[in-house]
């Protein structure tokens, strides 16, 4: 991969009090690339994604978006967040708004898109994700899989430079996982740049261009999915993958 990475993380550290969550993370995500973050719960995957979206402040290191440093205190975080989008494990849809308004809220108030246009675009997105007819429902009327599809629509409605996915299928019933993964697969085919924290190893192997294994706040191993999954080098990676296969 050449050119300027869309997202670059350099030597990022983050601690909650005494507890070091991220210990010197380096990562580069290029245009149209999908990088999967794997690792046990508490290894720092979610924290890393939140730090990149400036939803948490880092202690040290730098994060760049399209070559510009974004973790400098002089940078306006709202402007950075508008160029990225995040999908959360627990969907985090806005229960006070209809499905349509959940998706249209960002474009209307962030990009100043006319309300009618934003709603029309939202309708198209929802239709594409198989949610036509549910626009006027409130999120609590939808299944987990449907809610997460709305959340993905909400995230890409603002046309982000990169999509940050934080274990988006972990809260779903097993039979609903497929419909969400299908959408992400679809987005990847469209060339969406994605950083995917996931527990779905088969999916990571299939979709990701690169897999990073996080262990206790550091990337212990990274590389081509085939290589990481079939011939992991680090003993921690081997142990982690073995536990997943044979619990």
């Amino acid at each position: 991969m050449t050119g300027t990475p869309v997202i670059e993380v350099r030597g990022v550290t983050k601690a909650y009090g005494e507890h070091e969550v991220l210990r010197g993370i380096d990562l580069r995500l290029f245009e149209h690339q999908a990088v999967a973050l794997i690792g046990a719960s508490g290894s720092g995957k979610s924290t890393l994604l939140r730090c990149i979206d400036l939803l948490e402040e880092i202690d040290d290191g730098d994060i760049f978006l399209d070559g510009e440093v974004v973790t400098d205190p002089s940078v306006e975080p709202v402007a950075v967040r508008r160029r990225l989008a995040m999908v959360f494990q627990a969907y985090n849809l806005f229960p006070n708004l209809s499905v349509l308004d959940n998706v249209a809220l960002g474009p209307t108030h962030v990009h100043g898109t006319r309300r009618a246009d934003a709603r029309e675009e939202a309708r198209v997105l929802l239709d594409r994700f198989g949610l036509a007819g549910r626009e006027r429902d409130h999120p609590d009327r939808l299944s987990g899989g449907q809610q997460q599809r709305v959340a993905i629509a909400r995230a890409i409605a603002t046309k982000p430079r990169a999509l940050l996915l934080d274990e988006v299928t972990s809260a779903l019933d097993p039979e609903l996982v497929g419909e969400v993964l299908a959408i992400i697969r679809d987005l990847k085919q469209d060339g969406m740049t994605m950083l995917i924290a996931t527990h779905e190893m088969a999916f990571a192997r299939e979709v990701a261009d690169e897999v990073c294994f996080l262990h206790e706040g550091a990337i212990l191993e990274r590389g081509d999915p085939e290589q990481v999954f079939s011939a992991p080098a680090a003993p921690e990676t081997r142990r982690f993958l073995r536990r997943l296969v044979a619990p």
């Binding site: 939140r50 979206d53 939803l55 709202v78 967040r81 508008r82 990225l84 989008a85 995040m86 959360f88 627990a90 985090n92 849809l93 806005f94 229960p95 006070n96 708004l97 809220l105 960002g106 108030h109 962030v110 909400r154 995230a155 603002t158």
Partner: protein
Amino acid sequence: MVTPGEDRKAVRAEAKRRSARRSATIATVSTIVVIGGLLAFMVTRPGWSNVHQLFFNWDEFKKAFPQVLKAFVIDMKLFVIVEICVLAFGLIVALTRTSVHPVLAPGRLLALLYVDLLRGIPTILVVYLIGFGVPALAIAGVPTDPLVLGGIALGLSYGAYVSEVYRSGLQTVHPSQRMAALSVGLTHLQSLRFVVLPQAIRNVRAPLLNDFISLQKDVALVAILGPQEAYRIAQIIQGEDFNYTPLLAAALLYFAVTFPLARILDRMNRRDPAQMALAVR
């Protein structure tokens, strides 16, 4: 031939009907006994004829009611204006208290002092102190109309309570909602306006309405400053005629407004009692 399944279904349905009928009968009988008993107890006391004459005097009621009703319009106007101000002011105080912006640090301190102080003083004292204290200061441009001052006092007192209701509402909204709003690219103010506040207010509709009902009655407190609202007029007529019935007329008017509000509140809070009770014997 009846299959065993259908048979037992019918038996169960009949048992359920019988049990419902029995519950309704018990409820009716016990209501009549309790309320009738209380009434009977009252009218058989030796002082009843006296009380009847002094509190439940129909002629006095007919005479006083129109005047009290006319004065009650003042109460209603005051109530509506003060309530609107309280809803706005309480929200500003709550938002100031929960903000983290350094510019608002003095505001946070002031808001905290205000809430602690006003919640610690009886409303009647606040009305008294502001109603008589502010005019005594003789500040140019500050209103001296007792009705306005009474309204301000009520607003300050209720603003403190209502701000706490809002604050608890803001705390019911999970931080992940704000995080999602920010991640969409909204500013802090936009997240508050479009995501956090609508949920917070929705979650405290009932306690807000509760304070609403409370204020509706407490507007009578401005009477101590002199304005001739319903309670004050009733008191004046009582003094003239040596009969308490006008006060009962005033009570009836306050009640007539509060009662429907209380019913609405009840409806808001209602859970199906059949759902709350375990649906087994």
